[in-house]
């Protein structure tokens, strides 16, 4: 099990990296603010590892999860117009998005 980060070890650079993973373009001021707050929160939530959890089965969900399927029958769904109505941009019955590939 990896060593838990102590609060002083969560650097501003770490937060900037996490923000890029989460696709949030944080400003410099936000990075300063968040780094301090997250360190305090992390120190508090890290107490879970001191609970008596050895040999305890993890629980992801309150109920046992089972796959649910239905007969393969066509049911009414959104029309293309309804699905596209709230799109930032639409074109030729499709969602229009910024470029998705690098230029080179």
């Amino acid at each position: 099990m990896p060593r838990l980060l102590r609060m002083s070890e969560l650097t501003r650079a770490d937060v900037a990296h996490l923000a890029s993973l989460a696709r949030i373009d944080l400003s410099e001021a936000e990075l300063d603010h968040l780094s301090g707050e997250l360190a305090i929160i992390l120190e508090s939530v890290a107490t879970v590892s001191s609970a008596p959890i050895e040999d305890v089965e993890p629980m992801s969900h309150p109920l046992p999860l089972v796959n649910v399927s239905r007969p393969d029958v066509v049911t009414p769904s959104l029309t293309p117009e309804e699905a596209l109505a709230m799109a930032p941009e639409a074109e030729e019955q499709r969602f229009s998005v910024p470029r998705i590939l690098d230029e080179d």
């Binding site: 980060l5 949030i24 968040l34 929160i41 879970v48 993890p58 930032p88």
Partner: protein, 518 residues
Amino acid sequence: MTSADLTRRTAAELADLLASGEVSAREVTAAHLERTRAVDDRTHAYLHVDEEGALAAADEVDRKRRAGETLHAAAGVPIAVKDVLVTRGLPTTCGSRILEGWIPPYDATVVRRLKDAGLPILGKTNMDEFAMGSSTEHSAYGPTRNPWDLERIPGGSGGGSSAVVASHQAPWAIGTDTGGSIRQPAAVTGSVGVKPTYGGVSRYGLVALASSLDQAGPCTRTVLDAALLHEIIGGHDPMDSTSIAGPVPPVVEAARRADVSGTRIGIVKELSGEGFQAGVQQRFDESVQHLVDAGAEVVEVSCPSFTYALATYYLILPSEASSNLAKFDAMRYGLRVWPEGIEDPSAEQVMAATRDAGFGDEVKRRIILGTYALSSGYYDAYYGSAQKVRRLIANEFAAAFEQADVLVSPTAPTTAFRFGEKLDDPMAMYLNDIATIPANLAGIPGISVPSGLAPEDGLPTGFQVLAPAMADDRLYAVGAALEARLEAEWGGSLLGRAPDVQSLPLPAAVPATHTTEA
């Protein structure tokens, strides 16, 4: 009957008046809309009011009644819906800028059931952004104010739903509860709130915060009204794979019987005493005595892992939220912001700029926390450990329910606090949910019932009852028994002692509500 009289009635009373033809659905709906026009500049409980749609739905109920059609017993009793449930044709923002102006193309199952029962939808209620918060201060559209004291928070995240009910703008409302967002607002506004068993109410169309914790439920002024609403929205839904395929527990019958004779009431040692405001604890102790006087037995139970519940919750919730909120990517719906100073930006750059502009501080905080907890190298230590503690908590609940039929605690550790008091201290804000969070982790149902006013500040306090999964009826039996005894002692409801919102001084800078005029 004047419109003021109609807004003072319970939903059950309104249903009877409507069924007997004494009033029309239009009169009842118009009375509540009039009330909103009169008071919501003070409370800011609604993000959107749909006068036109609500009156049209009311007229349709009146038409069907005149035509002799069979109607649901509550047809024509209007309702407010938290802005986290999608409503076809009505704006749904989740209290976030990223969804400003978004109009969903479909109804949540809960909303569909309200419409099928003939409940006119008055509007969408304010909330902390994506249900992250305990005060509504994290709403991008400004906070809702507590009808008891406009300088104080109405609870959160469902502060709009608790406030419309407490200020008589709606007889009942829908809330959602991920860590206490129905129960804590009920406690601090002197109203009733129920989080049903996980899977008891469909999550289809509920914009997910944490999918393994979220549950929609009733916000009302009486225990019986909560049961009636629970019955309308509950039950199996094929559109939600986690929906329980079984009947709704007999909640209405339990609320009507209000019988606690022989019921074993377990006081959870870890959820009272230290950290709880003196007046909150005092009203809790008195409520326990009332239940004993009504024939219940008291046992003390201990759930030592509950001391880890808050830490567990603030790992599991951000982890699930960081994943759920990844869908706000500026591509298919919602806000799209182009980054400044970048020529021909990529989709990822647009997504990052949009999420920076569209999400508030608390949402960013939790997404980044969740991203960290799930990241390679830290997953086992954080998210993995939290999932194991979650199991311990569920096991301790199971053991406690062998000794007691229900468990009880104060709902929230304090009465309503002032705006700004905890805004800059996230851990202090998170502590508001200390007594409500364990139920969400285990998936069990809980209710908050008014227990009085704290002597030191004259503000409402709440009494929480928890029951085993699918034994939601026990919440209603105990809640209704306590309500009956307390109201006999008070000589009426707790909300009857609330100040008249219209007489309270109008605080500065309350954001305006969007209204679709009829």
